[in-house]
Subunit: 336 residues, 2 copies
DNA sequence: TTGAGCGATGGTTACGTATTCATTCTAATG
DNA sequence: CATTAGAATGAATACGTAACCATCGCTCAA
């Protein structure tokens, strides 16, 4: 070294502790010359903080989630955290994936679109690791969660569609055991029941374009008279729209399609999808906030935050009957 | 503990070293009861291996890259590596981003679609960190790189299009300072020159849908008679197709569009995009191989690997003149 | 019987940092 | 000048592991 103790070096790099300006200069200069750089592992070892967050994703094919990943990275890296990315290929988060995160003693874990089994959740908790579910929640509320109020959103969507004049519905769903699917279906059905609309078909599937495409084909060969399809999410909706067009339907003249998420592609000219916007940025912010809170105080009870979102009207749902101007599609973009 | 030294515990968890079966059982059992788990940071500290790979991405909006990320994760996690995900918002990889990776002493770094400046590269090298560029390369060949032979591919594409009978071309490009753009343009132009085709317009842009959309509008208000547009990549191509349709062009009757990458969405019914497939899986495999090689022996000279790819014929380019059957679009899918 | 060889095990050290404690230095106050 | 509070600094320790070295006990063969 150059004339100073290790303690002082640590003080210069780590905290804003008291070091004379002269020595600080000197240390930084020598460090630069020696290519010195603090070692994060040693720091983690003594600090018991890794400054790393595990982010478990699934279904990265869905652009909704790559967007989510991007935003999470922006927020967390600004706070000095690093992201360990884990792509889960299975419905349940794998035991080994948790083990890996534990060995690296991540400070927290964000889980998106992957069902967090109770034992897994317990395990993370037992090691004092903060967990927040994004866009999902578990029954027992064992973990904190941030998600859109799918139930309420689906109700509003249903009301909107019925008001417009639709009378025969189909729901092309995602996996039937996910909270998002369950809530969206429940809300939608509740409104239909209340409005005494009996014509409602459910076609199961998964959250992919291909699934949407197939389901739509399936649906329309088995059923007639459907005039509106509510899709479990946008990526399904795009598949549905393409399938309908291949069959020969005009959207929205012959049949209306509505999605959920408001992914960028829905706004593309080929689709112009009417959908429900999830306030992704706000959801991410809330998730980060909850996560940091839990990291700071691990004894806190799980916290559940729901957000609203809003309807984005484009051109895949036919205009309301009262003000129908047949060939004059309004050019609503969804932006205020 | 329960009746054994720390050394033995280490032997059980770390290596396949010699431990009697009896004690191994006992240790594992006690470990389970105590929720013991080896600490990756301590291990990294002594081993000087972090088993972490930094992956620097940009333009995550492009589904090509989320696919790439997914594949990289699958490959590397199977090898026991963990991914530190970094989303670079800038053209140049940031100094601070490198610093972060260095502090965590990642074993290697993969850089996709982000220009790696020479000083940054030198810095990583100086610390003995393996670097591989994915889908890009630098002039001086200071780093290893794996990419598709864009020059050759563009030549083949051009030849294909000219053979079909196209005579007036446009190239809607990505950023003009990226190796991909430069090579694709060079190859394309070379063939046109050789075939004595002078009608060739270049419209600059970036690798996004929106850019493609705008560029196509721009292009067609300024030029007439263009019968084929070669797009810098698929996501641009989709934007171009949508713009053309909005204007009123029929694809491929009025104008042909061809992309590059073969992202999933190109196969969707709305687009059915003819394009050039990048052999992503093979490219990832090659990248991982080069990376591991460099991690093992840091003194190795940089290695550059180029791959071929192949043309995927769908329906966005009009069929060759000789076998033209006007209204009978073949249903080629690109799958063998 | 004895020594060699080997598998199994424990003791010890080093990795690079943050932190605590003790010490020295500085400056301000009376 | 004496006293003292506070800033600046160094020494020592702990974090949890892998690896090296030494030891121990056992087996087998001469």
């Amino acid at each position: 070294m150059a004339g100073v103790s290790q303690s002082t070096v640590s003080r210069v790099f780590a905290g804003g502790a008291n070091v004379s300006e002269k020595k600080r200069k000197k240390i930084l200069e020598v460090a630069d010359r020696l290519n010195y750089m603090p070692n994060a592992h040693a720091r983690s070892l003594i600090t018991r903080k890794s400054m790393m967050i595990g982010i478990v994703m699934r279904n990265m094919r869905n652009p909704f989630y790559s967007e989510v990943l991007e935003i999470f990275h922006n927020r967390l890296s600004a706070l000095g955290y690093h992201l360990i990315f884990i792509n889960s290929n299975n419905e349940e988060i794998q035991e080994s994936e948790i083990t890996q995160l534990l060995e690296y003693s991540v400070d927290g874990v964000i889980i998106t679109d992957a069902l967090l089994s109770s034992p897994a959740s317990d395990r993370l908790k037992r090691y004092g690791i903060a967990v927040v579910l994004f866009n999902r929640y578990t029954e027992h509320l064992a973990s904190s969660a941030v998600f859109c109020d799918n139930y309420l959103a689906a109700k509003q969507i249903a009301a909107y569609l019925v008001d417009i004049g639709h009378r025969s519905f189909a729901f092309i769903s995602g996996p039937s055991d996910t909270s998002t699917t369950i809530d969206r279906l429940r809300g939608f059905r509740e409104v239909l029941d209340k409005r005494r609309i009996g014509k409602f078909v459910i076609e199961p599937g998964s959250y992919t374009y291909e699934s949407g495409f197939r389901s739509a084909q399936e649906l329309l060969t088995k059923n007639t008279g459907i005039d509106c399809i509510f899709c479990g999410n946008d990526i399904i909706a795009l598949g549905v729209m393409d399938a309908l067009r291949v069959i020969g339907f005009k959207i929205p003249k012959d049949i209306s399609v509505i999605g959920f998420d408001n992914i960028r592609m829905g706004a593309w000219a080929s689709y112009s999808l009417t959908t429900w916007e999830q306030p992704v940025e706000d959801m991410v912010d809330a998730t980060v906030k909850v996560l940091l809170r839990e990291i700071k105080d691990k004894t806190l009870p799980p916290q559940v935050i729901t957000m609203k979102g809003r309807l984005i009207v484009r051109n895949s749902v036919r205009p309301a009957i009262q003000d129908v101007k047949p060939r004059t599609r309004g050019r609503q973009t969804g932006k205020k």
